[in-house]
């Protein structure tokens, strides 16, 4: 149990370091991949709605520390995304190898668009533009591409945190 508690923050930190140091150089059409959102999605896929919501909240709030958008905004979106993915995906994980990849793509695109919509409501100007769809697709494709690795990593990190085989 103690070991598991240490593994989750470790994976969270790893994703954060990758996001803040490597990916900001890797712009495609001016869009940055968002692996913190990926973490929320994958947590939902691997661990179900509870783990999805918790890890989504944690990854969002950690990312918020390094943004200028209102604090807590990413946490709100990511925990909802993690929960939704967990609720939908929970039962059908072992169906086929490509299902988690497609889920990651769809959930990432939805997460980016949802973020822009909520941010607009909170008072961030001019986020819903044509560029938003470019961003959503780039984030979705990148996340889908690295989803298999992320799934393995997250499964390892929560392997004995939940203690329930039903979640794995």
């Amino acid at each position: 149990m103690n070991q598991a508690r240490a593994k989750v923050p470790l994976v969270l930190l790893l994703f954060l370091v990758v996001e803040l140091t490597v990916l900001d150089r890797l712009r495609v059409f001016g869009a940055v991949p968002d692996v913190m959102l990926l973490l929320a999605v994958v947590a939902g896929i691997v661990g179900g709605p509870r783990v999805g919501a918790l890890l989504g909240f944690a990854s969002g709030i950690v990312l918020d520390l390094f943004l200028e958008t209102p604090m807590g905004l990413s946490a709100l979106i990511f925990c909802l995304v993690g929960y939704a993915v967990g609720s939908i995906q929970g039962g059908v994980l072992r169906a086929a190898w490509w299902i988690p990849i497609v889920t990651t793509f769809v959930a990432s695109v939805a997460g980016v668009v949802f973020y822009a919509l909520v941010a607009t409501v909170v008072g961030q100007p001019h986020l819903v533009t044509t560029h938003l769809f470019v961003v959503a697709v780039v984030v979705g494709l990148f996340n889908a591409l690295v989803a298999p690795f992320a799934i393995r990593l997250v499964r390892w990190s929560i392997s004995d945190a939940t203690g329930e085989k039903a979640f794995a």
Binding site: D24, F57, F66, A75, H126
Partner: protein, 282 residues
Amino acid sequence: MAVYRRSTRHRFLLVLLVLTSITVITVDVRGGGGGAMESIRRGARDAFAPVQSTADDVINPVSDFFGGLFRYGHLKAENSRLRRQLNDARGKVNASANSERERQELLALEKLSFADNLPAVAARVVATSPSNFQLTVEIDRGLPTGIQKGMPVVTGAGLVGRVIAVSQERATILLLTDPSFNVGIRLSGSGDVGVARGNGTRQPLPVDLVDVGTKVTGDEVVVTSGLQGSVFPPGVPVGKVRSAKVQPGSLQHEVSIDPLVDLTRLDFVKVLIWTPKDGGTP
């Protein structure tokens, strides 16, 4: 029954997390960016600064290697182009030395404060924004060097943006292409003023409030107006006019400008130690 209980518990957790997020958002937005949230952010950024520097030391050689490998032809062409430009620039410097002296004398005569005599802090850009929803960069200088929120940031070519957050080790700069960025400008030819606003990365900046009667020429340089209450000192070059036209029946000139600075490839910048209150031009 067990399944039902579990999903109720999950929903309770979700509601709890959502309410927590909304509370945090509200505190941050209502607090106007100050207070507890800001100090937490500052702490996190300072704590992360050494990690970032270490990661940069590891990643930079690798990415430079691959960058050089894949873009060899491009780099070679760029090198010869830059050499040509350097020669041109040397010639221009010689030619403008005299007019610069005259300008300085005039400025001294008029007792105006201009950007080039302001104290400044040089800094290196260490990271771009990790978000797709804000156009910012981080620099490796912070509070100890005198940088404060709101200070203008420039390069040799012109305006870059302004400081929107600052901690001990780092400062965050909002680029002038960010949609929430506004700057009062003056057309160098006619002297007419307007307001330029950011419109997203690699997009030209639309300029509002330019009078229909104003004559605007292509490639005309636009500088900060520095009118009273402006958040920028006067005379900092902002951009070049890209297009200008008057729609029939419109009450303003439709002008758009391109930034002078290549904001997608920033390396070194200067933060002007200037706040609106000590730069109060008449």
